[in-house]
């Protein structure tokens, strides 16, 4: 189908964008890559009165990297972040997760920040931001604020962004250790039935000194679980996986849909936790 009519705004600066957003209030929607919003419009599941197209806003495409992590501007496409050698070096989990976001053609347009604001509980990038304890920077006519991932994802397709705010960038902190992202989807490129991002740190004797996972598709928002204690200061080879899986399964709230039952999602999450932690520990 075709999108419903809307008033179109094409600001060229952040200042102009937030002024328009303030003016149109609750009737306004930001258009970034359009890879989630335009399907919703085409299917007439959304009918905003005003679209604020940020594709011409200067200075939002930057990917800044240093030892502390990666800051991704609101117009940095998935593909650009995936190809950035500096970003992969500073935070490999970004590239590991991005490969599993949709298909490469969708990633040519879709933005990392758009995926975060869209806050789909089945999406990979919110789990990455939540796992790493990153944040999203929001701008409005009254200034900027930085919202931590833990406060940003408030529910399915719901984030802490307020009417009149534009997300200008997101920060993915570096992690001194290994990371991995594994998922199972019906078809490659589909949203995952279950997926797990893991961040693991080992000591010189290869014992797990820190480990956490973020699970997708098994709750209203990414479910982050610290499994350091459950790993029991063991080497990855001697970890009691039953205990680790139980610690994670206790925290998730999977639901059934046409793709999978709740039980199957719970089971998959358990299997993927072990795989993700082992991959992150590189064993």
């Amino acid at each position: 189908m075709k999108p419903p009519p809307f008033d179109y705004h094409a600001p060229t600066s952040v200042r102009e964008a937030v002024e328009v957003l303030a003016e149109v209030g609750a009737h306004g929607k930001v258009l970034a890559g359009g890879q989630s919003l335009i399907p919703l419009l085409n299917m007439r599941l959304a009918a905003p009165g005003h679209l604020v197209d940020i594709n011409r806003v200067a200075g939002l495409g930057e990917i800044e990297t240093d030892a502390t992590g990666v800051r991704v501007g609101a117009l940095a496409r998935h593909a650009a972040v995936e190809r950035s050698a500096a970003a992969s070096l500073a935070q490999p989990l970004l590239g590991q997760a991005l490969k599993q976001v949709a298909h490469s053609v969708i990633r040519n347009r879709g933005t990392v920040v758009g995926s975060l604001v869209h806050a789909d509980p089945a999406a990979e990038l919110p789990a990455v931001l939540a796992l790493l304890g990153g944040s999203v920077r929001l701008a409005s006519v009254s200034g900027e604020r930085e919202v931590a991932a833990a406060d940003f994802f408030t529910g399915p397709m719901e984030s802490a962004i307020r009417t009149g705010e534009l997300a200008v960038s997101a920060f993915f902190p570096a992690w001194d250790g290994g990371t991995a992202f594994v998922e199972v989807a019906r078809r490659h490129g589909d949203y995952a039935m279950a997926g797990v991002a893991a961040a693991v740190r080992l000591d010189d004797d290869l014992r797990v000194t820190a480990a956490r996972v973020a699970c997708v598709s098994v709750g209203p928002a990414p479910v982050v679980v610290d499994i350091t204690e459950a790993c029991g200061n063991q080497s990855v080879a001697s970890v009691d996986w039953g205990a680790v899986v139980a610690a994670v399964q206790e925290r998730i709230e999977p639901e059934a849909d046409i793709h999978a039952t709740a039980d199957y999602r719970r089971h998959l999450t358990g299997v993927l936790v072990e795989r993700a932690v082992k991959a992150a520990a590189d064993v």
């Binding site: 075709k2 009519p5 179109y8 335009i38 399907p39 299917m43």
Partner: protein
Amino acid sequence: MFDITLIVNGVPREARVPARRLLSDCLRHDLGLTGTHVGCEHGVCGACTVLLDGEPVRSCLTFAVTVDGHEITTVEGLAGPDRPSPVQRAFAECHGLQCGFCTPGFLCTTTAFLRDNPAPTDEEVLEGISGNLCRCTGYQNIVKSVHRAAELLAEEPT
């Protein structure tokens, strides 16, 4: 209504469109380029894939106004002056199409894919075309076509 100019297959083309005009519809209805096919209109099938500044994108998930001033390559722009492009010839030679509905999307996707990866492995080919659906061929001959296109491209004088 917005007056926009798209550089389509190297030629500046003007159109007057409402903001909600999808790039796919702009190409087909406003500019008469019906080679770009429209299947699902929600990004899943890949039939509408065109090149935007050289990169493959879904024209059904792009507003024409957003890409005002940019370069678009459609399936009509792939062929050389006297014959089809290597990718097009490979699809014809290897029976990479039956009804042809999905073909414009596969051709645009493959053209960009082989430009970035001129000698792909089987797995890379599968990954490269995984965002395009075909209801006829069962994909085997499409995978063959992509490999054959890589060979033909390698033989092309540059």
